[in-house]
């Protein structure tokens, strides 16, 4: 993979693209959360990524791993709700895998660590109608594509985004077991999970940035 300064610029660009896209999707995410939650997921994600975007200047002299870690701590410190610890805490923990830079290998380790931390924190199995349903197929697909199919990371990541999308769609017809939507019991069936959706959106923007 590319050297550190190229990676740094790519990360900064990705963060900015994600922040811009989240701004666009803010009301969409909040609307999804209105149906089966408490109508704040768009605002939560927006608040978090605004704060992150304001920090990109500091990123100039950080290693890629530190940038990801800072994104995580910034989200923890600004989001709250379920999304704050899930996104922020997992980024923070998983960033340790990037200590030696971003390679095909470390990116797989990062993805796995991220998923593990989400599951550890939130205690949600697949099929509980949460972000885990988008993350799991994405991480599995990425790992298999890189490690067994020997695909280039970018190609593998594109497949992962497709997989996440299928995960998001999978959240619609199932009943929520975790998160606020679980309080609705059977009434949650038929609605798309906001956190799975924001996970997909973020991955789409990372892919777009990487392709550029």
């Amino acid at each position: 993979m590319a050297d550190e300064s190229v990676q740094r610029e790519a990360l900064i660009a990705a963060v900015e693209n994600v922040a811009a896209r989240i701004e666009e999707e803010k009301s969409y995410l909040t609307d999804l959360d209105s149906a089966i939650g408490d109508a704040d997921h768009g605002n939560n994600m927006h608040r978090g990524f605004q704060a992150v975007a304001e920090k990109t200047e500091d990123f100039e002299d950080m290693s890629p791993g530190d940038i990801v870690k800072t994104v995580g701590t910034t989200i923890i410190g600004n989001v709250g709700g379920a999304a704050g610890p899930l996104y922020g805490g997992s980024l923070m923990t998983a960033s340790q895998e990037l200590e030696d830079g971003i390679t095909a290998e470390t990116s797989v380790a990062f993805a796995e660590a991220y998923l593990d931390k989400v599951k550890d924190r939130g205690d949600a199995p697949v099929g509980a109608k949460t972000m885990v349903d988008a993350l799991t197929p994405a991480v599995h697909t990425y790992k298999k594509s890189v490690e067994q199919d020997d695909l280039a990371p970018l190609t593998a990541f594109a497949k992962a985004v497709d997989a996440a999308e299928r995960g998001v769609e999978f959240t619609v017809p199932i009943k929520a077991l975790k998160g606020r939507a679980s309080f609705l019991d059977w009434r949650s069936v038929g609605h798309q999970d906001p956190g799975a959706t924001s996970t997909l959106i973020i991955m789409e923007e990372i892919l777009k940035t990487a392709e550029e």
């Binding site: 009301s27 909040t30 209105s34 149906a35 089966i36 939650g37 408490d38 109508a39 704040d40 605002n43 939560n44 608040r47 923890i76 410190g77 600004n78 989001v79 709250g80 709700g81 379920a82 999304a83 704050g84 610890p85 899930l86 805490g89 924190r121 939130g122 077991l177 975790k178 998160g179 606020r180 679980s182 309080f183 609705l184 019991d185 009434r187």
Partner: protein
């Protein structure tokens, strides 16, 4: 949206400033945070009891800061758990060296952020314990789900924990009475209307003129069931029966009843509901030791109510009766 607000994004910030401006001798805001603490805290030699969660539930949480109840309260954005960082700052500011009990309502966001904060505070050498309130009988209690929400029954937990701490109880003892209250309290709520969050600016859910939601939480989320409009008596019957059944009350037991307003319902209607609640509770052979009617834990401007029943013994009664001096509750 018609509200007495300025920029919606300043909602929480300005509300907290307005609270401190109303009670400058009682409340202090930790600079740069949305945390309020006792102006005279931390109180030497006393275990601290703190709470927190999303905003929009006023007078919960900060209205219950004061002698005999909470030492601090962290407010998140509307219906959004405070961040772990703010919770950590609260815990550290409230600690007088005797440890801190965090009263958490069972929502994944709250639980995860309080967990993280406890880890952080722990690293700074603060002794932290946590209790999680889950009084909402509308939600099925299952091992495989997030479990039940914490709702209005939390106020009783704050009260008894705060009283125990005020009388000099150890962190372990304060936690124990909080858990006793949690074990003995159940709630169920309903909504006539959705609330409107300032940021979204419109109803969270649409409800017809002849429909109501049963089994709502306190975050404007829809309930577990939508039904036709009911009379006050029918509402009281539905909520109270579910609460009492779940609590498995027995003839002759003593209870405290709370009829809590969701923010937009006038007190007069809560009394109309209370009339029937008392009837039902008495018909079950229970002895109502005390009754609380009012807006204790709200959902912004939602119209509706919840009914809470707490089973009491001598210890809980003594702690409930103990003097308390906060903006929203005095005894």
């Amino acid at each position: 949206m018609k509200k007495l607000i300025n920029d919606p994004s300043d909602y929480v910030d300005e509300m907290l400033d307005g609270m401190v401006a109303a009670y400058p001798d009682r409340l202090r805001r930790l600079e740069g945070t949305k945390v309020l603490v006792r102006a005279d805290g931390p109180v030497e030699g006393k275990v601290a009891v703190v709470s927190g969660g999303g905003s929009g539930h006023e007078p919960t949480h900060a209205g219950f800061i004061g002698d005999g109840m909470l030492d601090g309260a962290a407010s998140g954005e509307v219906f959004t758990s405070p961040t772990a960082n703010e919770l950590d700052e609260m815990v550290q500011a409230a600690d007088a060296g005797e440890g801190v009990l965090c009263v958490v309502k069972n929502y994944e966001g709250d639980v995860m952020n309080f967990d993280t904060a406890a880890e952080m505070a722990d690293m700074e050498g603060v002794e932290v314990e946590q209790v999680v309130v889950n009084d909402d009988v509308a939600v099925e209690d299952s091992l495989y789900t997030s479990g039940r929400r914490g709702v209005a029954g939390t106020i009783f937990v704050h009260k008894v924990a705060g009283a125990k701490a005020a009388e000099g109880g150890s962190l372990e003892e304060v936690k124990e009475v909080a858990e006793k209250a949690i074990d003995n309290v159940r709630t169920m709520g309903m909504a006539l209307t959705s609330c409107i969050t300032p940021e979204k600016g419109e109803e969270t859910f649409d409800l017809g003129e002849d429909e109501i939601e049963l089994g709502i939480g306190i975050h404007g989320e829809p309930g577990t069931e939508r039904t036709d409009l009911m009379s006050a008596d029918e509402v009281a019957e539905h909520l109270t029966t579910n609460v009492l059944d779940d609590l498995e009350v027995e003839d002759g037991e003593e209870v405290v009843v709370m009829v809590n307003g969701m923010g937009g319902t006038p007190l007069s209607e809560l009394f109309i509901v209370n009339r029937k609640v008392q009837e039902i509770v008495s018909d079950r052979g229970l002895d109502v030791w005390d009754t609380w009617v009012g807006d204790y834990m709200t959902s912004l401007d939602m119209e509706g109510c919840s009914v809470t029943v707490l089973r009491v013994d001598d210890e809980l009664k003594e702690l409930l009766e103990a003097s308390v001096d906060t903006p929203a509750l005095k005894r």
